[in-house]
Amino acid sequence: MTRLAIGVIAALLSFVPSVAAQDDSAFEPPRLENGRPNFRGIWMNGSISAAFDVETHPDAFGTRGGQSAIVDPPDGTLPYLPGAREVAQDNNLHRERDPVSHCHPHGPPRAMLPPFPMQIVQDGDYVVFLYETEHAVRIIPTDGRPHLDGYSSWSGDSRGRWEGDTFVIDVIGLNGRQWLDQAGNYLDANARVTERLTMIDPDTIEYESTVDDPTVYSEPWTLRVPLRRRPPDVELLEYGCIEGDRDFADVVN
C-alpha cells in the first residue's frame, strides 16, 4: 500500500512538470478548417547570425557575431567526432567550396537560416516550403507514405506529421554535400534531420532541428531559431543564380 502510494505520488510529481511545460506553450495558434495550426504565410529567420556560423562566433570580416544556435548539447558546441572539426575548419578556409555559392539549394536545416524569406503553403495532405533562395522547394506529404528508396538530393526526402500543434518533419535522402552555415560546418549522407515547427505567438514559429549523423557527430544535436512572420505586403520574388552564372566557367578555368 505504501509502495503504491509512493508510486502514485511519483506519477503525480512527474506529471506536474509536463503540465507546466504545456502551460508555457499555451499559445493558441490560428487554425485552418481542418483544425491544424495555420502556418500559411511568409517567414524568415529572426536570428540571422546563425546563417554565418551556427556556433558562437565573434564579429569578423563579412561575418556578424552571435551566440550559438545549438541548444543541445547545452554548451552550444557541435559534437564532432575526432577529425571532423578539422574538415569543417578546412571548409572555412575554402569558402569557395560552399555549395550555396554554386547555386545549389541549402537543404535542411540550413535552408531555414539565411536572411531570405520562405513561404509555407498548407493544402490538404501537403505542406510545402517555397524558399526564395535558389527557388528551392520542399514538398512535404503528411499522409503517412513511406520515404523514397535510395533517393539522394540537396533538399532530401521529407515526410511530415503533426504532434499536437507541432509540425514534425523527418528528412533522409540528403546527398551529404550540404553545409550547415557559411563557416563550413557540415553533415554527410548518413544524416537524419528531424525538424519541429511550433507557433509560439502570432508572428513567430519556433524552429528546432535535430541532426543525427553518426559518421560526423558523436551524438545527435539540436539547433533552434525563431522564424518571424514577414509583413503582409511581402511577396517572394524570383531568385536567379544559374542564369547569371555563365561567366563562372571562365573564372574556374
Partner: protein, 249 residues
C-alpha cells in the same frame, strides 16, 4: 440564400469571379504533358528519334507561328545554334508557357487567393495571385513572369507579364522579347485530364497573338512525387542536367 439572388450572382458573374474558398475550382494534383511540344511547338516530321507531331498552334489555323518578317532571321539563327544556345540546355528556369510542356511533372497547390505551380524541372515555381492584386510595374523582369490569375467558371485564367527575354518557347528556337504577354487557361475536362491553352502576344516578334493548346494528364498519388531536378557543373564549368532526369548520361 434566395434562389433569385443566386441566379443574379451567376448572371452578373459576381459569384464566378470572386468565389469564396471552398467554391474555388480544384486543379490540385500532379500533371504532365505527353507530347513533344518542348522540342518544337509547330508541326514537325519524325527526326532524331522523335515521333512526328502535329502543330500545337491552334490559332492561326495553319499551325504556324505568325512571326513578323523582321523576326524570322533570329528564329532561324536560334534553330541552327539550338544545341548550345537553347537556355534550357543551360539549366535556366524554363519560362512560360514552356514550363508547362517540359516533359516533366508539375504540381498544383491551392490556398484562398493563391495557386502555387511547382515544376519538377529545375525546381522552378510560380505563385499565381488570384486575390485581385495588381501586376508589378513594367520593367521588373522575371524568367517565369509575373502571374495574376482569376477563375472563369472552372477555368483558371492567368495573365503573365514582365518577362525577361532570355527564355525560349521551345527547343526549335522560337523566342520572344520582353514585350511578351501570355494568357494561360487551365480547364479541367475530367478527373484525370486538363486542357492547357496559352495565347502568346509579343508585338516585337509576332504579327498577331497566337494560341497553343494541349492536354495535361494527372499522375497518380501517392505513387508519384516530384523529384529534385538540380543541375551540376561539368568539368568544363558548364551546367548540365542530371542524367536520371533527361541530362546527358
Amino acid at each position: 440564400m434566395n434562389p433569385r439572388w443566386v441566379f443574379l450572382c451567376l448572371l452578373t458573374g459576381f459569384g464566378l469571379t470572386w468565389p469564396a474558398y471552398g467554391q474555388e475550382p480544384d486543379l490540385r494534383g500532379i500533371w504532365q504533358v505527353r507530347n513533344t511540344a518542348n522540342i518544337n511547338l509547330e508541326g514537325h516530321p519524325a527526326l532524331d528519334g522523335m515521333e512526328a507531331s502535329a502543330s500545337h498552334v491552334v490559332d492561326p489555323e495553319d499551325g504556324r507561328i505568325p512571326y513578323l518578317p523582321s523576326a524570322v532571321a533570329t528564329r532561324d539563327e536560334n534553330y541552327r545554334n539550338r544545341e548550345t544556345a537553347d537556355p534550357q540546355t543551360l539549366c535556366f528556369q524554363p519560362g512560360v508557357p514552356r514550363a508547362t510542356y517540359v516533359p516533366e511533372p508539375f504540381q498544383i497547390f491551392q490556398e484562398p487567393g493563391r495557386v502555387f505551380i511547382v515544376y519538377q524541372h529545375v525546381h522552378a515555381y510560380r505563385i499565381v495571385y488570384t486575390d485581385g492584386r495588381e501586376h508589378y510595374d513594367p520593367g521588373i523582369e522575371f524568367y517565369m513572369g509575373d502571374s495574376r490569375g482569376h477563375w472563369e467558371g472552372s477555368t483558371l485564367v492567368v495573365d503573365v507579364r514582365n518577362f525577361k527575354e532570355e527564355t525560349w518557347l521551345d527547343g526549335a528556337g522560337n523566342y520572344h522579347s520582353t514585350a511578351l504577354r501570355v494568357v494561360e487557361r487551365y480547364t479541367p475536362t475530367s478527373t484525370e485530364r486538363m486542357v492547357y491553352e496559352a495565347t502568346i502576344e509579343d508585338p516585337e516578334v509576332f504579327e498577331r497573338p497566337w494560341t497553343i493548346r494541349m492536354e495535361l494528364e494527372r499522375l497518380p498519388e501517392p505513387e508519384s512525387q516530384l523529384l529534385e531536378h538540380e543541375c551540376e557543373r561539368d568539368e568544363t564549368g558548364e551546367w548540365r542536367h542530371p542524367p536520371e532526369l533527361g541530362g546527358p548520361g
